[in-house]
C-alpha cells in the first residue's frame, strides 16, 4: 500500500474548481515531487492530504488514514512545512523547536535539530529576525520534530540561498532514506530534478504527467548547443541530415539522440564554417524541457466548447 493514495480528488472554492479529478500515489522511502506553476492546484491537493481542506469529490488516504476524519491520528506521524509563516514572529528558534518536540512527543532532541538545520548560531534569534532561508530551515526543523512517516513540504527551498538549499536537500534526502514518504510541492523544476524519485506534474488543476524522471524523459533525447547567432541552420540541417532549431539568441536544439557520428558531423560542420561552440549538452531532456513540452501539448481549456 502506498503511503499517500489520491484517487479522483476534486477541490472547489465556490464555483472555481482548483483541482479536477486527479490521482497519484507516493511511496514510503521515496521523494515524490508535485510540480506545477503557481495556481496549478499543488497546495490545495497537499492541504487535503494534510487534513486542512475537504475534498469536493474523490478519496485520499495517508498512511491508511482518512485525513478529513482521522487528522488527529495522522498528525502524530506527519511532518508539515508550510509555504510560508507558521511560527509566532516573536518566538525564538530553540524554544520553538523545543515546543514542537514536546507537541509531537517522539523524543526528538531540539538542540540536535537546530544544529542539523544549521541554525545553532541563531538559536536565540526570534522568527522575525531570521532571513527567508533561515525561516525555511526552522520550518523544516519543526517538520523533523515529528520524526514523520510522511512529510508534506511546500516549496521548501523557496527564497533560500545556495548553501541553505544544500542543507535542506540533504535533510530531505535523509528523511526518505529513513523510510519517510516525502511529498515535495514546488514550482522549481531544478529542485525536483535534483531530489525527486518520482514526479507528478500539475497544470490547470489536473495531473498531466506522473512517473520517474527517466520515464518522463524517455524518447525525448536532444542535442543542445550554443554557437554564433548567425548560424545558417538550413545549411547545417542539409549537412547533418537533421533539423536544427534556433531556441534562443545563440542557442540551438537538434531533436535526436547524441549518436557519436552525429556529434562528429555537428562539431565538424561548425569547425569547417568557422563557428564557435560555446556550450554543448547532449542526452535526456531537462525536466524543464519535459514540462514545457507537456504543457505546450495541452489544449487550451478556453478553446473547448
Amino acid at each position: 500500500m502506498a503511503a499517500v493514495e489520491v484517487n479522483g480528488l476534486t477541490v472547489r472554492y465556490g464555483d472555481v474548481t482548483a483541482v479536477n479529478d486527479i490521482s497519484f500515489t507516493a511511496e514510503a522511502g521515496h521523494i515524490t515531487a508535485v510540480l506545477g506553476p503557481n495556481g496549478a492546484g499543488k497546495t490545495s491537493t497537499i492541504e487535503v492530504c494534510e487534513g486542512y481542506r475537504r475534498a469536493a469529490a474523490g478519496s485520499v488516504r495517508v498512511l491508511g488514514l482518512d485525513p478529513a476524519t482521522q487528522q488527529r491520528r495522522l498528525s502524530e506521524r506527519m511532518g508539515v512545512m508550510l509555504q510560508e509563516g507558521g511560527v509566532y514572529p516573536s518566538a525564538r528558534v530553540l524554544s520553538t523547536v523545543r515546543h514542537y518536540c514536546t507537541l509531537y512527543g517522539k523524543g526528538a532532541d531540539a538542540d540536535a535539530l537546530v544544529q542539523q538545520v544549521g541554525l545553532a548560531d541563531r538559536r536565540t534569534a526570534t522568527w522575525r529576525r531570521l532571513s527567508g532561508g533561515e525561516k525555511q530551515r526552522l520550518s523544516l526543523a519543526l517538520a523533523l520534530a515529528a520524526r514523520p512517516d510522511v512529510a508534506f513540504l511546500d516549496e521548501p527551498t523557496s527564497g533560500v540561498d545556495v548553501n541553505g538549499r544544500d542543507t535542506i536537500r540533504e535533510l530531505v534526502r535523509g528523511l526518505a532514506l529513513d523510510g519517510c514518504a516525502v511529498v515535495l510541492a514546488t514550482h522549481e523544476l531544478d529542485e525536483a530534478e535534483r531530489l525527486a524519485d518520482r514526479v507528478v506534474i500539475f497544470d490547470g488543476g489536473q495531473v498531466i504527467a506522473d512517473g520517474t524522471l527517466s520515464e518522463l524523459r524517455r524518447g525525448h533525447d536532444e542535442i543542445r548547443f550554443r554557437s554564433s547567432p548567425t548560424l545558417d541552420t538550413v545549411a547545417l540541417a542539409t549537412s547533418i541530415g537533421m533539423v536544427a532549431s534556433r531556441v534562443g539568441h545563440d542557442e540551438y536544439v537538434i531533436d535526436a539522440p547524441p549518436h557519436p557520428r552525429l556529434m562528429a558531423q555537428l562539431t565538424g560542420w561548425l569547425a569547417d564554417h568557422g563557428h564557435p561552440l560555446t556550450d554543448l549538452r547532449a542526452g535526456a531532456q531537462r525536466l524543464e524541457d519535459v514540462f514545457r513540452r507537456l504543457t505546450a501539448d495541452r489544449p487550451d481549456p478556453d478553446d473547448e466548447s
Binding site: E50, G51, Y52, R72, S75, E76, M78, V80, L82, E84, G85, G86, V87, Y88, P89, S90, A91, S95, R98, H99, Y100, T102, L103, Y104, G105, L142, A146
Partner: protein, 241 residues
C-alpha cells in the same frame, strides 16, 4: 498534559515578551487607577475616587486581557499561519483553545495580584466584599470578552482586527462605567452602556466589591447573556486560516 503545558508556557512567554500587550493589560489599568485616584477630577460620586475606580479598573483589566490582548494576538497568529501549523500537530484545537484560556486566566491573576494591593494602598475601603461573586462575574466577563475578541480575530485580517479591537476597547472604556459613572452619560447612551458587557461587568463588580451597583440584576443577566452568546458566535464565525 505535557502538550497543554508546553502550549501554555509558549502563550505566556509570548505575552511576557510583548511590550504592547503588557502596556495594555497592566500599564494602562494601573496608570488609570493611580492617576484618577490621586487627581480627583472624575465625577465619581464617592468620598474617595478609588472606591469608584477600583472595581471599574478591575473590569477594564479583564476586558484588556480577554478581549483585546487575546483577540489581537490570535488574529495575528491566524494571519501568520501559526494556527494552521499548530493544527497539524497532535496538540489539537481543543488543547490550543484551553491553553489560550488558561493563559488569559494566569494574566488576570497577575493583574488582580497587582491592582488589588495598589487599590488598597490608595485607600480603597469597600463597604462590603463578596469575592466569590466577584470571581464568578470575572469568569462570565472573561467568557464574554474572549468570545468577542475571538470572533473579531477569526474573521478579520490582522491589521483590521487590531484597529477594530482597539476602537472597541476605547468605546467600551468610555461607555462601560469603568472610569466614568453611568449617571454622567446622556440618557440615550446610558441604555447602551448598560447593555454592553463592559458596563455589566463594571456594575456587577462595583456591587460585589463595595455594594455600589446601579442595576445589579439587569447587569448579571446582561453579563450572562454575553458570556453565552459571544463564544457561540466566535465558534461559528472563526476561521483557522
Amino acid at each position: 498534559m505535557s502538550r497543554f503545558r508546553s502550549q501554555l508556557r509558549t502563550e505566556l512567554e509570548l505575552v511576557a515578551r510583548n511590550g504592547e500587550q503588557l502596556l495594555l493589560t497592566l500599564g494602562i489599568p494601573v496608570l488609570l487607577l493611580v492617576f484618577f485616584s490621586l487627581v480627583d477630577v472624575l465625577p465619581t460620586g464617592t468620598d474617595d475616587p478609588v472606591d469608584f475606580l477600583a472595581p471599574g479598573v478591575l473590569a477594564l483589566a479583564v476586558m484588556s486581557t480577554s478581549m483585546v490582548s487575546l483577540g489581537i494576538g490570535t488574529g495575528f497568529e491566524r494571519s501568520y499561519h501559526v494556527l494552521k501549523r499548530l493544527g497539524a500537530t497532535p496538540l489539537g484545537r481543543g488543547r490550543l483553545i484551553a491553553a489560550k484560556i488558561a493563559a488569559v486566566a494566569v494574566v488576570e491573576l497577575v493583574q488582580f495580584a497587582i491592582l488589588v494591593p495598589v487599590a488598597y494602598a490608595l485607600g480603597w475601603s469597600p463597604a462590603s466584599t463578596n469575592w466569590p461573586a466577584a470571581i464568578g462575574a470575572v469568569l462570565l466577563g472573561t467568557l464574554a470578552f474572549a468570545g468577542i475578541g475571538l470572533a473579531f480575530a477569526g474573521r478579520l485580517r490582522g491589521e483590521l482586527n487590531l484597529a477594530a479591537l482597539n476602537g472597541l476597547y476605547l468605546v467600551m472604556l468610555l461607555l462601560g462605567g469603568m472610569v466614568i459613572p453611568f449617571g454622567e452619560l446622556p440618557s440615550a447612551l446610558r441604555a447602551v452602556a448598560h447593555a454592553l458587557p463592559s458596563g455589566a461587568l463594571a456594575d456587577v463588580l462595583r456591587d460585589t466589591l463595595g455594594g455600589n451597583g446601579t442595576a445589579v440584576l439587569t447587569s448579571w443577566l446582561v453579563l450572562a447573556g454575553w458570556a453565552l452568546v459571544a463564544p457561540v458566535v466566535a465558534a461559528v464565525v472563526f476561521r483557522w486560516d
